[in-house]
Structure formats: structure tokens, C-alpha cells
């Protein structure tokens, strides 16, 4: 299973879809599978400023917990409200309905630092 090629990735298994100044962020299928049944996602409120590589939230499964790291510096414009009632969307549709936050990116040049699909696949394959 390879990661979608239209997205960018962090080494901490977040994905980013850049659309103009806006970026949508979630976690990869690989990360969701590793965590198992996700039961809770804690996300920042809209308006909060995020700094690249710093934690912005938490994702919990039945037996594990993981911090979420901001892929880019920017401010949160929207969070996926559906995840509070349906955290399992992260498992069932990580790149779609399981998205987590949207941010207004401070500097689009930063996206160049992120991995592309094949590079992320290599990262996962290397364990």
C-alpha cells in the first residue's frame, strides 16, 4: 500500500494537502493502522497558532496514544468536528473524512521540507 502521491508527509506520519495558502492535515493510513482502533482525537481550537514540528494535538487508540505534530507553521482555521463523535473515521478514511485540521500556512516555501509520497513509503519500509 503506497501513500497518495498528491500529498506531502512528515516523518511523524502526518499528511498535508496544500491548496493555495490553506493546508489540510491528517495522519497516514500507516499511522492509523499502527495505532489500531482510534477512540479519541484532541485537536486545537480554530485560531491557534502552530509551529512546525511542535505537538498540536493527541490521538488515542484503545491501547496507545500519540502526539500529533504540526507539519507547517501557521494558524488553525478549522478542525474536523466530526471526529469528536466519530473518531473511527481516522481508521476508515484517513486521507478523506478522517482529516483533522486546516491551517493557513505562514510560509508556503516550508512545504518543500516535507516528504513526497515515494519518500514517505521509503520511510515506512525502512521501519
Amino acid at each position: 500500500m503506497s501513500a497518495p502521491t498528491d500529498l506531502r508527509y512528515t516523518r511523524d506520519h502526518e499528511w498535508v494537502r496544500v491548496d493555495g495558502e490553506q493546508a489540510t492535515v491528517g495522519i497516514t493510513q500507516y499511522a492509523a493502522d499502527q495505532l489500531g482502533d482510534i477512540v479519541f482525537v484532541e485537536l486545537p481550537d480554530a485560531g491557534r497558532d502552530l509551529e512546525a514540528s511542535k505537538p498540536f494535538g493527541v490521538v488515542e487508540s484503545v491501547k496507545a496514544v500519540s502526539d500529533l505534530y504540526a507539519p507547517l507553521t501557521g494558524s488553525v482555521t478549522e478542525t474536523n468536528e466530526r471526529l469528536s463523535a466519530n473518531p473511527e473515521l481516522v481508521n476508515s478514511d484517513p486521507y478523506g473524512d478522517g482529516w483533522m485540521i486546516r491551517i493557513r500556512v505562514a510560509d508556503l516555501a516550508d512545504t518543500e521540507d516535507l516528504l513526497d509520497g515515494p519518500a514517505y513509503d521509503d520511510l515506512v519500509a525502512a521501519g
Partner: protein
């Protein structure tokens, strides 16, 4: 070794299987210079002799005194069913229900405990239990700080002094301030609301939580709804410290708007045992479910759809979240939570009300009998089953009453040396175990002591100044 199964032949067989001559070889990895010197302990003691030793030690305690001591720990009638059920090995020799398929007994009992306490406190979420009332109160304070992202907590001086000391220990690095008591008047002894309001008004230092107890340490009923309003108006959470038996008859914390309830569950069928093990009650509103520390058990189903119970929201806990856990708590007090549940199930809602109301009735009898001999309450406000009286030379009187077979409550100067308003006070509690006869004999003894007469047939000892002197006679 008294409880081991291995015969010399068994040990030999195991060593042979391992290709070893001696068990010492299995300890060869301990560096020679770090090996222990021999254990300098008494030789093994056969059960027969050990039981005599234990009986003798227990006999040196004076558990025979007619007691009016409460101060956070209360004697109650516990139906023998409670202890007989606790002594089933399936309960007390099991461990944390990590494997739910073979732990449904413990899991369901914890779920039922959570439900029973939720009814008592009128809140939604009850942790599977903490160490004791003091530790639960400390966890409540930390919880308030996490939930509000503030670091200043106000605690009423009406909260048990040992709970306040515990808070001090747990709250290092955070700010803990005490709300004074009202000095005089009708509200004397209770939380000073005007000062509280002023403390909350300091907006540069926003308050995470306000902690008050009902009944408070002195037995007084506190203006809990008002304290809650003041706390909420300042954006702080309200933590109520409660005594569970009283909740059969007193307004529960959920009803007067408390966000968190903490308290000591000992009165629910648990013996005093000189300090523990007890049962720390910690409960909160649904909104705080992810902030509450400690185990939680929930209802779910198995693969066949059968109803079953399981530890849940585990990701808050230390074994998963490690340094980011809500608390380092690992075990709860499962066996004590079980005792409390069996007690509540056996005694029932009407029984619990009778327990609380009888204690209150006896307290009123005690108050008027003492007033009749000139021993008056220190405070005027309402109380349930515990109150403070003013007695000249309280410590000496207390001591003289022990000689007469009475434990005259608590010498308040020992418990709160920094509280001049109760300097010559005794804190007296009654429960359903207090009989009218106890009260009559006690009051007569108090009168005797105050009038300076020696007890019948007993020489008064010297050394009444210090509470720890002449105890040689007890040995």
C-alpha cells in the same frame, strides 16, 4: 520457607534440568563487591508462635475505649456479610483486571462501585478509587489545574488539616492558598466568603479551583452553593470534599454545582485500621472525563454481544502515556471499593439514611447533655454528627478521660496548632454505634474530670502535660 512447595528433590530436579550444581550460580551476575551481607533478621517463626506475637501486639492497643473520635474516620456498624464476602480468595487474591475475560467479577464490581458513588455524589464520572480522601483531594486539585490551564488553587481551612498538608506536598510548583475561617458570629468556623471573593478577584492570578469540605473538619455545614457560585464566577472549578454517609441526608455535590467531588470512603464499611487501607473517592462531571486520573471501568459487549465490563479510556494512564499521564497512579483500592459497594448494597438507601440520621440524633443528645454541665460548643452553625466544644485544659481532660475508658474525640490543638480559635477545643463525633448510655456515662465522666475528682478505683497518674509520657503501664 513456610509457604513454598519445593522439596529438596524438586529443587534438585530443576537444577539438573538447568545443568547447575547450586542456585548460587543463578546469582553469579551480581558483582562480587556488591553482594549483600547476610540478613540480620530474627529466625523464621512458626505460625503458632507468630499468631501469639500478633495477638499480643494487637492487645497492646486500646481499642476498647468508648470513642467519640471522628475527625475524618468514623466507626460504623458493618454487616458481617461485607467481610465474609471480602474474604473470598477470588476477590482478594486477584489483581488488576488486565484480562477482562477472566476478571468480569472485579470489573462488574468496579462498574457498580462507580454507579453507586455516582448516585451518592450526583455526578457522572467516578474513578475506580484512589488511595484515600487526602490523595483524592490532591488529585482533584491537580485535575482542576489541568482542566483550566491555571495554577492557583484556593483551599478552605475547613478542609481536614492532613488533607491540606497533602495538597501542599502534591502542589509543589503550583500555588496553594488557604481561605481563612470566619472568626466569630453565626458563621464562625466556616469558610470566609468575603475573603474568598477578594482572593478570586485577583485577575492577574486566575484561580483553577476552589476546595471546600462539607461537613468541614470541625463538623460544620458549609455554604457550599455560595462557594460554588463564587468559584464559577471567577472561571474556577469547584471541588467539594465530602463524607459519603452524610450524603444520604445532605445535598450532594452535583446538586449544588460542584465540578469535582473528593472524599474518604472509609465510613462505607471499612475498619479504621490506624490509617488504612482506605478508599479515596474521586468523581467529576462528564465534561471532565478525560482529566480524571485513575482507572475507569465501562460497560461494553463481547464478540457474541453479551454484556461485559472492561477498563476503558486507558490512554490517560501511566502505563500507556508514561510521562504525559494524568497521574502516576497505577493500582486503585479495588478491594476497598468492593467493601464499600457490598456495604451499600447490604445496608440499602433507607439503612444509609438511618445511619446518618442516628449519628445526627446522638450528636444533638450529646450536645445538650454537655451543655447541661456547662460544656459548650465553640461554634454556632449547624452540624451533622460532629462538633467542637470548649474545655479548659483540653489535653489534660482528654488524657484523664482515657483513664476512665473514654476517647474524648480529638484535641484540636494537636491537629491544628496554628488555629488559636480552637486552641482549647475537643472535636467530638457520634455515629449509630454511640448509645444513649455511652453519652450519659461520658458526660458524667467529663463532669468528674472537670470537677477534679479522681475516677473510681483509679489513681491519677502524674505527667499529664505531655501526651506521650507514661505509657509503660500498657506494656
Amino acid at each position: 520457607m513456610p509457604y513454598g512447595p519445593h522439596t529438596p528433590a524438586d529443587r534438585e530436579r530443576m537444577l539438573t534440568a538447568l545443568g547447575l550444581d547450586s542456585v548460587d550460580e543463578l546469582f553469579a551476575d551480581i558483582p562480587a563487591d556488591l553482594r549483600a551481607t547476610a540478613l540480620d533478621l530474627p529466625p523464621p517463626e512458626p505460625e503458632l508462635e507468630l499468631s501469639a506475637r500478633l495477638r499480643e501486639l494487637a492487645g497492646r492497643n486500646r481499642a476498647d475505649l468508648v470513642s467519640f473520635l471522628g475527625a475524618g474516620v468514623y466507626r460504623h456498624w458493618t454487616p458481617p456479610a461485607v467481610d465474609q464476602l471480602l474474604l473470598r480468595g477470588e476477590w482478594y487474591t486477584a489483581y488488576t483486571p488486565y484480562q477482562p475475560e477472566v476478571s468480569q467479577g472485579t470489573l462488574q464490581s468496579i462498574y457498580e462501585y462507580e454507579s453507586l458513588i455516582a448516585e451518592l455524589v450526583d455526578l457522572d464520572v467516578v474513578s475506580a478509587s484512589h488511595y484515600d480522601g487526602a490523595a483524592a483531594t490532591a488529585e482533584a486539585a491537580l485535575m482542576a489545574c489541568r482542566a483550566t490551564r491555571r495554577d492557583r488553587v484556593l483551599v478552605s481551612r475547613g478542609v481536614h488539616p492532613q488533607y491540606r498538608e497533602t495538597l501542599q506536598t502534591y502542589m509543589h510548583g503550583l500555588e496553594l492558598e488557604e481561605i481563612p475561617r470566619v472568626a466569630d458570629g453565626d458563621a464562625a468556623g466556616t469558610t470566609d466568603l468575603e475573603t474568598l471573593e477578594r482572593m478570586l478577584a485577583d485577575t492577574d492570578r486566575p484561580v483553577a479551583g476552589v476546595i471546600a469540605a462539607n461537613p468541614d473538619f470541625l463538623g460544620l455545614l458549609e455554604p457550599m452553593p455560595r462557594i460554588g457560585e463564587l468559584a464559577h464566577a471567577a472561571g474556577a472549578l469547584f471541588v467539594a470534599v465530602v463524607e459519603p454517609v452524610s450524603l444520604a441526608v445532605l445535598t450532594p455535590p452535583g446538586t449544588y454545582g460542584a465540578d469535582i467531588a473528593a472524599g474518604e470512603g472509609q465510613p462505607l464499611g471499612i475498619a479504621p485500621q490506624y490509617g488504612g487501607p482506605y478508599l479515596g473517592i474521586l468523581a467529576s462531571t462528564d465534561a471532565l472525563v478525560r482529566q480524571i486520573p485513575g482507572r475507569l471501568v465501562g460497560m461494553t459487549s463481547d464478540l457474541d454481544g453479551k454484556r461485559a465490563f472492561v477498563m476503558t479510556l486507558r490512554a490517560r494512564e501511566q502505563d500507556i502515556r508514561r510521562d504525559k499521564a494524568a497521574s502516576n497512579i497505577c493500582t486503585n483500592q479495588a478491594l476497598l471499593a468492593l467493601a464499600a459497594s457490598i456495604y451499600l448494597a447490604t445496608i440499602g438507601p433507607h439503612g444509609l439514611r438511618d445511619v446518618a440520621a442516628t449519628g445526627a440524633a446522638r450528636a444533638a443528645e450529646l450536645e445538650s447533655a454537655l451543655a447541661a454541665i456547662g460544656v459548650e460548643r465553640i461554634h454556632r452553625g449547624p452540624y451533622l454528627n460532629e462538633f467542637a466544644v470548649r474545655v479548659p485544659e483540653a489535653r489534660t481532660v482528654h488524657r484523664r478521660l482515657i483513664e476512665r475508658g473514654f476517647l474524648a474525640g480529638l484535641v484540636l490543638a494537636d491537629a491544628e496548632p496554628d488555629e488559636p480559635t480552637v486552641a482549647d477545643g475537643l472535636l467530638l463525633a457520634t455515629t449509630e454505634l454511640t448509645t444513649p448510655g455511652d453519652i450519659a456515662r461520658f458526660v458524667a465522666a467529663v463532669q468528674e474530670v472537670l470537677s477534679g475528682r479522681p475516677p473510681v478505683g483509679v489513681e491519677t497518674g502524674a505527667g499529664v502535660e505531655e501526651p506521650t509520657g507514661a505509657v509503660g503501664a500498657a506494656r
